[in-house]
Amino acid sequence: MNHPRDFRLPGDDYDQWLRLCPIERFKSYLLSQSLSNEAELSRIDVEVAAEVEDAIQFAIESPYPAPEDLFADVLAPTTAPIEQEVGQ
């Protein structure tokens, strides 16, 4: 009961929806329209996997954030005053 196949879409429905996977369909479209090719799509897959792997390693090797990091990036840094627009 831990796989969606078991409780969401019993029977053939699950496999039917898998065949409608939008990523797979987009890939088919790109190939059928000659907008890309298998070699290029494979290269993108490899690049993305490497980027994710690098990010995971970076996270593992980084120290935990400091308490003051709680407030980082909530708003843009306010270094310079916003220029006032002068009306007519």
Binding site: D6, R8, Y64, P65, L70, F71
Partner: protein, 326 residues
């Protein structure tokens, strides 16, 4: 009396009310065979079937809208919205329809619906699954908001919420689902508008709700060692607020610390603070103190999550400040 977890007390309340009243329905994501995303509806599909335990798509606006429609047609729907963060997607149906239908119909029809949703910082769920938005809803007339923290309160308040003629937002804290406590097997209903004094005290009132009640009780133990007697109030109902219990305690102690897990700015504590300032200022011996979340997003990092979450240390410091200022 047997012990139940808060999770199972919620399930029992729904089961007993569904047995009693065929109009009661449960709608939500994976509430059927999976037993609910947070395992609060285990076994209900087997007893009540898919016409009363209704699986919905991932679309909160539609889920609450289905609940509004079912309620208008005479049903008593319980809509489970997995996390309170996702209530942002259901605001129109909740605020502009469920809350206003009685008023707009000149009192002809109401929306006897319960929206159950899980709130709060949990287990490193990150920015989109950890928030506490209860102050959005206490701001709106036509809604009731309750947040039980014990299995006993959860069962009694959920039964009342299901029977209530108006929409009730029923908040369940993620970290409390496994909490165990004594729960009667029989059906009972608790009033939706009453706070509970969890600990009597004479020197300071700590007003809390949700996860912060246990922190307030831990703080009061520590303060007792210092000879400070703290009274701890669990609000239980956030809308309406139990004015009598809050003001009565403040009149007795003259010092107040308000604590919650939600952001301090614009939080429920701001309303409680204003209520005390308006109604009991003459009784105050010291400025009101609030212990709540900093104005930052709930961080994903477990280390930072603990920094974000208010705790008993902060409550103890606030009480010392209040008592010292008196």
């Amino acid at each position: 009396m047997r012990e139940l977890s808060l999770r199972d007390a919620i399930c029992e309340a729904m089961r007993q009310e569904m047995r009693r009243d065929p109009r009661v329905l449960l709608l939500g994501e994976d509430v059927g065979a999976f037993g609910g995303p947070l395992k609060t509806s285990r076994g209900l599909i087997d007893e009540f079937g898919s016409k009363r335990i209704i699986e919905t798509p991932i679309c909160e606006q539609t889920m609450v809208g289905m609940g509004v429609g079912a309620a208008l047609m005479g049903y008593r729907p319980i809509v489970e919205v997995m996390f309170m963060d996702l209530m942002s997607l259901a605001m129109d149906q909740t605020v502009n329809h469920a809350a206003k239908m009685r008023y707009l119909s000149g009192g002809d029809v109401g929306v006897p619906m319960v929206i159950r949703t899980a709130t709060g910082v949990g287990f490193g769920h990150g920015v989109h699954h950890s928030q506490s938005f209860e102050s959005w809803f206490i701001h709106v007339p036509g809604l009731k908001v309750v947040m039980p923290i014990t299995p006993y309160d959860a069962k009694g308040l959920l039964i009342s919420a299901i029977r209530d003629p108006d929409p009730v937002l029923f908040l369940e804290h993620k970290r409390l689902y496994a909490t165990k406590g004594l729960v009667p097997e029989e059906v009972y209903a608790l009033p939706l508008n009453q706070a509970e004094i969890k600990r009597e005290g004479a020197d300071v009132t700590i007003v809390a709700y949700g996860l912060m009640v246990s922190s307030a009780l831990a703080a009061s133990e520590e303060l007792a060692q210092e000879g400070i007697s703290a009274e701890v109030i669990d609000l239980r109902s956030l809308s309406p607020l139990d004015r009598d219990t809050i003001l009565g305690s403040v009149q007795k102690t003259g010092k107040v610390v308000i604590t919650h897990e939600a952001w301090k700015i614009g939080g429920v504590g701001a309303e409680v603070s204003a209520l005390i300032a308006e109604e009991a200022l003459a009784y105050l011996d010291a400025p009101i103190q609030r212990v709540a979340a900093p104005h930052a997003h709930v961080p994903y990092s477990p280390k930072l999550e603990e920094v974000f979450l208010p705790n008993s240390v902060g409550i103890v410091q606030a009480v010392r400040a209040a008592v010292g200022a008196a």
